[in-house]
């Protein structure tokens, strides 16, 4: 089946399930994706009745991880007394992982959240396309067959989807939410573990310390500390982020490299074993930093040491939030 045909099928299935959920009053509202106003993007939408369901779309340009809207709770998603509404959430695999993570970490009540699962066929690598198009305005992007068709005022360029899919989507092993039918309508599966591949990280690890340092410095140098990555991340839900603590101040907010580096260092450490590999951080960065690459390194470490992948079920806590007597701690005893 072509990507275009898959999208049509996915979109229809999302709308069917959404209609069913709303008509049967299983949920009060549904969070999904709708047509954006710009090419190469889509905009999240909150659906409140059946008539709005046809606004839900799936078109490989759905970047925001919708679990972001579950925690911290949006004021718009509460009733007049401030109680959480029952929410249906359109869930590609990584949204499903985020929902599981939030449930395991006791940030959401799964009785009030229902996923609309489907077999995700990935997102377009929009920064790669924008980079190749350069200084010409893109006016329309669509998928025809297996090609991404990018149009401007008097030009058109085609990109094969298989090459211009997000790097993370290329290696994704959780395309369908890992959940049971009690929490997920539509498609779901129950995964115990997965064999993630980290070829890109292996390649990076082979570099010299200087090369690694140079790479990270070059990437992060342009950061404006706008915190879009934090805001888009479903796992970054602290009421008060460490950078915003000001009694006392923990962290200087200048744009000197030390401060930028400290922010990203601490944020990625906080995500060790918690990142759900949705790539939202990289796709929202206004200056094009591949933030997910840093968290992926930590994912690899957690996978190797603890054989853990986040968000596969709603019960197991990430290793860094958990303590077991049999945890290996040889690193503490190492002498050199």
């Amino acid at each position: 089946m072509t990507i275009e045909a898959e999208n049509k099928e996915i979109e229809a299935s999302i709308r069917d399930v959404a209609k069913k959920m709303l008509s049967e009053k299983q949920v009060d509202v549904i969070i999904g994706y709708s047509q954006g106003t710009l090419p190469l993007s889509s905009t999240p939408i909150v659906i409140r009745n059946e008539e709005q369901v046809d606004n839900l779309i799936w078109d490989n340009l759905c970047y925001i991880n919708l679990a972001r809207y579950l925690a911290p709770l949006m004021p718009q998603l509460c009733d007049s007394e401030g109680n959480a509404l029952k929410i249906g959430i359109v869930s590609k695999g990584c949204v499903g992982r985020a929902v599981n993570l939030l449930a395991a970490e006791k940030q959401i009540d799964l009785d009030k959240v229902k996923m609309i699962g489907f077999n995700c066929n990935g997102n377009v690598n929009r920064s790669k396309i924008a980079m190749e198009i350069g200084e010409k305005e893109i006016l329309d992007v669509s998928i025809t067959g297996n090609e991404i068709i990018v149009k401007g005022k008097d030009w058109e360029q085609n990109f094969p989807y298989s090459e211009y899919i997000n790097e993370l989507c290329k290696v994704c092993q959780v395309k369908i939410p890992s959940a049971t039918e009690a929490t997920c309508l539509g498609e779901c599966q129950q995964l115990e573990s997965i064999n993630d591949e980290f070829a890109d990280i292996d390649e990076f690890e082979a570099k010299s310390t200087e090369e690694k340092w140079d790479y990270i410095k070059k990437e992060l140098e342009v950061c404006t500390l706008c915190y879009s990555c934090r805001q888009a991340c479903p796992a970054c839900y602290c009421n008060l982020c460490f950078v915003d603590q000001n009694k006392p101040i923990w962290f200087n907010k200048t744009t000197e490299y030390t401060d930028i580096f400290t922010f990203h260092l601490i944020r990625s450490m906080h995500l060790a074993g918690r990142c759900v590999a949705c790539g939202a951080c990289s796709s929202v960065c206004p200056v094009g930093i591949d933030l997910n690459f840093i968290t992926r390194k930590l994912e690899k470490i957690v996978k190797t040491r603890f054989n853990y992948t986040s968000g596969l079920n709603a019960k197991t806590l990430p290793p860094m939030m958990n303590f077991k007597m049999e945890d290996a701690e040889e690193f503490m005893l190492e002498e050199d």
């Binding site: 106003t37 949006m74 305005e137 706008c226 915190y227 805001q231 907010k253």
Partner: protein, 354 residues
Amino acid sequence: MEQKILKKEDIGKLYNEFSSEYKFYAPIKQKGNIVFERIENPDDIVLDYLNSRIPPKSILFPQMEVLFEYKLDDKDVEITDRQDLDEKFMIFGIRPCDAYSYELFANFFSFHGNWKDEIYLKKKENTTLIGIGCNTPRSTCFCTSVGGHPFNKENMDVFLTDLGETYLVEAISDKGKEIVKKLSWLSDAADKDVKKSEELAKKAEESFVTQIDVDTIVKNLEKSFDHPVWDEISEVCIGCGSCSYLCPTCTCFDVIDETDQYNNKGRRVRIWDTCQSCLYTLETSGHNPRDTKIQRCRNRIMHKFSYYPANYDLLGCVGCGRCIMVCPANNDLRDHLAKIEKIGKEEKEEKAVV
């Protein structure tokens, strides 16, 4: 008005004329985005760009700026003011919307009673703008709706028009006339060049697809502080600060002191702040009048389209469309303004039905 012609391959020559006297900034490509940077190699300059992803506001209003340095002992404080304010800046290839944003900044930094922000104003005084007209405005641009124009020359010292093979050079201000005089090797422009530039300006003006009725919006906002439209506008906002950080007119800043560990010397710095941050307007008591994203989103739009007109009789938006381009949730300002514009209309229609 003097009109000259600059050959495209002579940009390096122009750079060489001024690079020792001025800190020379121009658009370059960085990680796929156009940004204004201090130029070391004129070959890096990119002039056929749509608009820079990051506005050039940071040249005169850096994200982090030292205000002064200090030393403390038991009796006294010794303050060292900035010593570099006489440096001259040249900003080459700036667009009219961004050039106008410097005027808004100058207004903000000099409006409040007798206090004047010497640091900003001095830098602005020492800045020469060589701007360039916008041949191909983006579909997200709407400068013509907020009093601007893709070929607005008003705030420039020298104005360039990309004629294809060459640039038409016009000296606008007295400062600009001096600059053009220094470039004695420029050739004279022919009538056909001037005519072509006029045609390009007209073509650019006609190409705008976004039209906004700003007068109605300003009027509607006066009585819409508690309107439910803000719930809608902020619904899918993820609360990052990209829209304001990349806004050429967002002026808000925070002031912090950085001291050494003994607390006896340090520096006072101002850094960009954004109304989208949870620390913005947080009071010492712990109360924050803008505690939710509904209030924060309202503040951003109110500031530009209501408080600015009320306080300064100006609009706080130059219509560059950067916030539209950059929003990770594609929460489009044009949609917000359309909703605000409709506020009165709906009520009128309802009344008519009754």
